[in-house]
Amino acid sequence: MAKGIRDKVAILGMGCSKFGERWDMNAEDLMVEAYVEALSDAGIETKQIDAAWLGTGIEEQHVGKSAVPLAVALRLPFIPVTRVENFCASGTEAFRGAVYAVASGAADIALALGVEKLKDTGYGGLPQRGRGTVNNMTWPNLSAPGSFAQLAAAYRAKHGASPEDLKRAMAHVSVKSHDNGSRNPKAHLRNRIDIDTVLKAPMIAEPLGLYDCCGVSDGSACAIVTTPEIARSLGKTDLITVKALQLAVSNGSEAQHNSWDGSHFATTRIAAKRAYAEAGIEKPRDEVSLVEVHDCFSITELVTMEDLYLSPEGGAIRDILDGFYDADGQLPCQIDGGLKCFGHPIGASGLRMIYEMYLQMLGRAGERQRQETPRIGMTHNLGGFPHQNVCSISIVGRYEG
């Protein structure tokens, strides 16, 4: 395995727009909102940025193709700008582009920005869209909840979990995220809910009810990265560096080969192992202090706890119900509200997760600040469907160098 990029790149500044139904904002306005905060946090000027990456997932709904919308919105001075798209992992992909540019020495300072303007669709949920000329002929007209809901059926079959126990643990996931979101001024959904509300909500895709599904939001998040040396030279003292960045992409084996049982994410398990190796983490359950996962649906968060080797296989239900992942638990998950309540503007989500890690590690998370400052934070971003997806994992932490 390559030796990786651990501690080669530091976060110089970050920004995040308020997420939600931003009826008065174009995607470009959201980009500027996140960018202005990041730029001010970094303490630099636009002309110091050497290269930029834009992450969007459903660009046909807002900015259209290419990196031009980012360059125009931020008035970037004719620098290299690239748009990346990898389903819901697009934000982390933009981050990976910027981080790799710095790590390679190709850029001193690079920018990653993710944005999505979803609330021009005309109806709730993600936009109904085709899957490609050939896929359209054979794929079901599957929705995101419909594909992720299937994890529950396969998980129950594999672990012998009763529908009631599983549903109750899933409900706990959502109740916890609503609690956390209520303490986050930038979150889309800030209302607290109880277990009963989740259990009695209208069914979206069996067994996912309304409160098992994350918010569909407008929003943008931004990171400016550089080397630790340059960060120090710019006057930064408390540095947060990238410990690992990994991406695993399905190659069709889950969708076409019977070696996958449908109850977990094959990609997450692979990406997690590689990320821990790159970051030098041996006991993730003990060493990771904060985690933000791709909780597009409550069941996704539940199985992801196992796929990240934080809960033992088949043990996520117990850990969740025990409060292990609550804000005051041993390893808080979605302390900012997660996709569930912070919201899920697709291209922005991966960067939003890193933003929360960054704030928490610098003690800047306000009302939701974890008492003991987290040292190692992991973010997990998934795109696609359980049977065919991309999974990106980043680990960031305090720089000890």
Partner: protein, 482 residues
């Protein structure tokens, strides 16, 4: 080797609309409908049409038969989904028959089914004759209650026939009891009493006599009289006039299925064959702008057990439907608000459809000759993580494999003409899997491990262009099924 009917099968859609709900909804307007409000009619699912029903009937008829022997496919219907695209060609493709197979459509009359059968019996080679019908009808029309959707198929050729043709007769007569044009959409019919007296009772008897004379038999020699007609007691009156014993009159399946139009003579013939004993004689009448009469004798080969469901098996594969509005919506009789999600463009790239016809129409996958892994669809590089061989796959048919549910959901968010959309991962034990639509399933019956049969169905309807594309879906295996 003898020429005759080598095999037979049928298909009746699973949904059975209760006529009482139709009568209850419409008798405020036409009180006479109350009298028809008994029993049930077969109702195609939203994703069924004459092509898909013909495919199922043909598969039923082909159980236990080598498909390589089929040299021609004839499809009869007056309700073809395509006016200019060979409907029988779709069936041939779905059955994965050799490209040397002749395919043709027969249409234009309610006796299209018997005409197709007669042509096959008068030809050489092995012909798969299928007839299927799904008639549009106006709300509150008698036809809405009298008709049903369904299909039948018979394999004709040299071999060990289950029934032999003894004689036949045909007559042409431009007797317009009803008509249907592109403009009218639904049937426009004349008075029933005139149709009965000047039509059936005048045109049919001479043809019956001619067939019996040719065979050197008398009316009393008939054991099964297949005389389809929606007019009540017409078959009995016809038997009486022709001298055929009343006991020989076959049930026209009105109570349990309804009249399947151009397919109905063949549906009733298949039903008769399912019950007939060796040596018995079946007289089949097809009426419509003239008449076809065929006289068959059943052979001992008919008593061999096969895995077919036939008419009886499909009638038993039944789910009562009491929602008349659903029937109206499925058949576009009423326009329901489908929501913005239904607006997604369903354009089919015809070039891509042709290029992928093996995977899409025939449901053919691949088998890696290096590691033996079965996979769908066929691809250049083997999906087995421990293989990865390039260009080693040979075509492998999946359509007749039984799959089982690996994961599933019932999705109320995505657009479906019949929500919730049920779909999931189907896994084939020998290898291969695909995330696919389910059909003919109730949400409560979904469970991991359940055995599912592949069925050829309408995948999407492109309302913008009037096109429809087909693909395979997974349905629960029917009890006693093949």
């Amino acid at each position: 080797m003898t020429f005759g009917i080598l095999s037979y099968g049928a298909y009746v859609p699973r949904l059975r609309l209760q006529r009482k709900v139709i009568a209850d909804a419409n008798s405020w307007f036409n009180a006479a409908l109350k009298g028809l409000g008994k029993g049930e009619r077969a109702m195609a699912n939203w994703d069924e049409d004459p092509v898909t029903m013909a495919v199922e009937a043909a598969r039923d008829a082909l159980v236990g038969h080598d498909r390589d022997g089929v040299t021609a496919v004839t499809l009869a219907s007056t309700t073809f989904p395509f006016l200019d695209r060979l409907n029988a060609g779709v069936v041939t493709g779905a059955l994965n028959l050799d490209e040397s197979t002749a395919s043709n459509d027969i249409s234009g009359t309610q006796r299209a089914g018997t005409t197709a059968l007669l042509q096959a019996l008068n030809s050489r080679g092995q012909t798969l004759v299928a007839a299927a019908e799904k008639r549009d009808s106006n709300a509150a029309s008698p036809l809405e209650m009298q008709t049903g959707d369904g299909a039948a198929a018979l394999l004709i050729g040299e071999g060990e026939p289950v029934a032999k043709l003894l004689a036949s007769a045909t007559r042409s007569a431009d007797f317009v009891d009803h008509f249907r044009t592109i403009d009218s959409g639904t049937d426009y019919g004349w008075e029933e009493r005139w149709i009965r007296d000047a039509g059936y009772m005048t045109i049919v008897p001479p043809a019956i006599k001619a067939a019996l004379d040719k065979a050197g038999l008398t009316p009393a020699d008939i054991n099964h009289f297949v005389m389809p007609a929606v007019l009540p007691k017409l078959a009995n009156a016809m038997a009486k006039k022709a001298g055929i014993p009343d006991a020989a009159v076959r049930d026209n399946l009105s109570a349990v299925c309804g009249d399947t139009g151009a397919a109905h003579a063949l549906v009733m013939l298949v039903h008769a064959l399912e019950q007939a004993k060796a040596g018995e004689r079946i007289l089949v009448v097809g009426f419509g702008q003239g008449v076809d009469v065929m006289l068959f004798e059943v052979t001992p080969a008919n008593e061999k057990k096969t895995g077919r469901l036939g008419v009886s098996g499909h009638l038993a594969r039944r789910r009562e439907e009491t929602n008349y509005n659903k029937f109206l919506a499925f058949n576009d009789v009423v326009e329901i608000e489908r929501g913005m999600r239904a607006e997604a463009d369903k354009l089919t790239a015809l070039s891509a459809m042709w290029r992928n016809r093996g995977a899409v129409t025939s449901f053919t996958g691949g088998k890696c000759e290096k590691c033996g892994t079965l996979q769908y669809p066929i691809s250049r590089i083997c999906v087995n993580p421990n293989c990865g061989a390039v260009d080693t796959q040979k075509p492998e048919p999946f359509a007749d494999k039984t799959g089982r549910i690996n994961s599933y959901t019932a999705d109320r968010l995505t657009y479906s003409p019949d929500p919730p959309a049920c779909y999931g991962m189907i896994q084939f034990e020998e290898g291969g899997r695909w995330m696919m639509d389910f059909t003919d399933v109730d949400e409560k019956d979904l469970e991991v491990g359940r055995n599912m049969r592949m069925m050829f169905r309408v995948k999407d309807i492109d309302n913008q262009r009037g096109f429809r594309r087909y693909f395979w879906k997974a349905a629960p295996v029917a009890a006693g099924g093949n």
